[in-house]
Symmetry: C2
Subunit: 349 residues, 2 copies
Amino acid sequence: MTIKDVAERSGVSVSTVSRVLNNHPDVSEAARSRVMETVRKLHYVPNNSARDLVRPQTAAIGLVVRGAGNPFFSGVIRAVEQEINAAGYTMVLHQIRSGEDELQAGAELARSKRLLGVILLGGCFDYTPEQTAALGIPFVCCSFTNSFGSLNKDAYSSVSIDDQAEAYRAVTFLIRQGHKNIAILLDSKQDHSISELRYRGYCQALLDAGIAPDTALVAEAGTFDMAAAYEGTCRLLRSQAEFTALFVIADSMAVAAMKALHDHGLRVPEDCSVIAIDGIDMSAYTIPTLTTLIQPVGAMGKESVHSLVDIIEGRGGNRHIQLRTALRPGGSVGAGPVFTSANDVKIKP
Amino acid sequence: MTIKDVAERSGVSVSTVSRVLNNHPDVSEAARSRVMETVRKLHYVPNNSARDLVRPQTAAIGLVVRGAGNPFFSGVIRAVEQEINAAGYTMVLHQIRSGEDELQAGAELARSKRLLGVILLGGCFDYTPEQTAALGIPFVCCSFTNSFGSLNKDAYSSVSIDDQAEAYRAVTFLIRQGHKNIAILLDSKQDHSISELRYRGYCQALLDAGIAPDTALVAEAGTFDMAAAYEGTCRLLRSQAEFTALFVIADSMAVAAMKALHDHGLRVPEDCSVIAIDGIDMSAYTIPTLTTLIQPVGAMGKESVHSLVDIIEGRGGNRHIQLRTALRPGGSVGAGPVFTSANDVKIKP
DNA sequence: AATGTTACTGGAAACGTTTTCAGGATTGCT
DNA sequence: AGCAATCCTGAAAACGTTTCCAGTAACATT
């Protein structure tokens, strides 16, 4: 079942069939409909290998994801896969371990599989424009940060939320509820990661409310998994630091944190409020329901693919899209303690 | 950078290079080492499209998954991807909606992408040997059931747990704790699904303990997602049916069920014990910790790929592997009510 | 009527690989 | 020495597609 069979059955040449299949303008309506007819009738499916061989590259897009265990990423992966298929490409998924270098992995993948482009999901982007140019293909960073600020913005595309602003929003929400001693749980603030940005938003929100950030209230889990989050929360609790609310940088970590709080005899939200960012399915079913800023996973996947495909198909250059989250109030945040007017929290209007 | 360049630089023909690259025996040691040398030097990577074009198939394996939102599947997908890469193949992921037909989707995928084989993950296998033979490629059903029993066992491979036996084990665990009125929450028992097998195990366990299964204690969610599970549990509770324990066919549904119990003022495990099957990460962090039978996701992925690759590479035919779960006791199961000797539960030795 | 323009079409080359086939060199046997 | 067998090699065809190029037909313009 090749293009030749279709051509014969339709009474045209293979060239014409090819043109029909690729939506070329120079083909008569009569020929077009006749070809489409036989294609349907024969259940003809083009051979991608042959197509890819003659074209400069493979009609495939890579998705490099670090830490696919994160349920938040599952949602993005699902959306990305759907969008890539809808655009007529094939997705090549590649999961990397925490130690590996995503750009390295992306380049390797792109070379061996001759990809048109790569989407990097989750991580930290720490490369110079020269290094990215060496890749030779377009790529977009989805839910990613980079440590160079706006320096090399034209070396790649990106789709993400404004991590600092959203963290600011979450912490401000807690402050508005009357909380003053607010702890933060993150995986690590050392590298130029999303965690760092969210940590900055946390600090800024406190400062703007006239509260001095206290390093004793910063709990670093070390790695991004629930076991580490649980342990990190336990360490924070053992330290005897005083706080009435906890901001966690990810839903999955927040679930573990709530468990740790419970295991230490603290009630959520009476003894400690919890807020997080992500909006994974599961967080709607914790007890109490987690208050969180829901990331638009579907839109993130969609925009990532669109950005990449537009570049691949010659429509415009790199762009940087920032999406907004939606606050889902849950039972995990309660009112803060009653303060005397003397030490009351100042909230900017 | 083609095979031709390598041939020229090595002073041999393309045929010889091809033979070296494919480990053909008929090539001199001298030529072999010379070619290998230049391959390394030029960083030559064979063009898979060209290779696939001339070969009957693509060096790729498909993974068709229904309901990738299920966190249990995420783990399997991760393992499968790793194993496929390790075996030198490419994984092509395809997620289907609940309405779609997985064999249809698998066949379509296999044809359009010229796959060597397909792994079907999660669902119900309802085809006759003739239909599967029409596919023309080997496939393995991972975490799947089929309604034909052992009739067409040689038409495909499978890797799964013994769903009925494991459900039996879970329910028996509840009975041993003293529970007698045990409800079950499943997505649907109509089709020949995993749910049905687990439902049968549930019934059998009750019968073997001398308890008559009561249809009033069967809660059907309708679909496999947490919202439906929540609703299904609520319906069960509104029905005023009396039960002291709940067996849920999946961890993610159990999380939603616990939430529903809580929202109706019932405590777990004091008022109702909960046990499930799956062992997703999250279930270790519910409050209380979910008692569950942990499925060996890594082994499932690994065995699925091994089975398929063995067939692809000509080592043996279809095989059927059954793995065991591991019981993780959690706080979600407590002792049942105290019975008088008159209506005490009979437990088989 | 001749010419130019437009709209469409088919032939053929090209993509990079594998594999068949035939043949050349070397070796072993008589 | 002659012949067969063995081992290795290269030429060439094939895989299914896209695209360049040349060409035809119809139509409009002079």
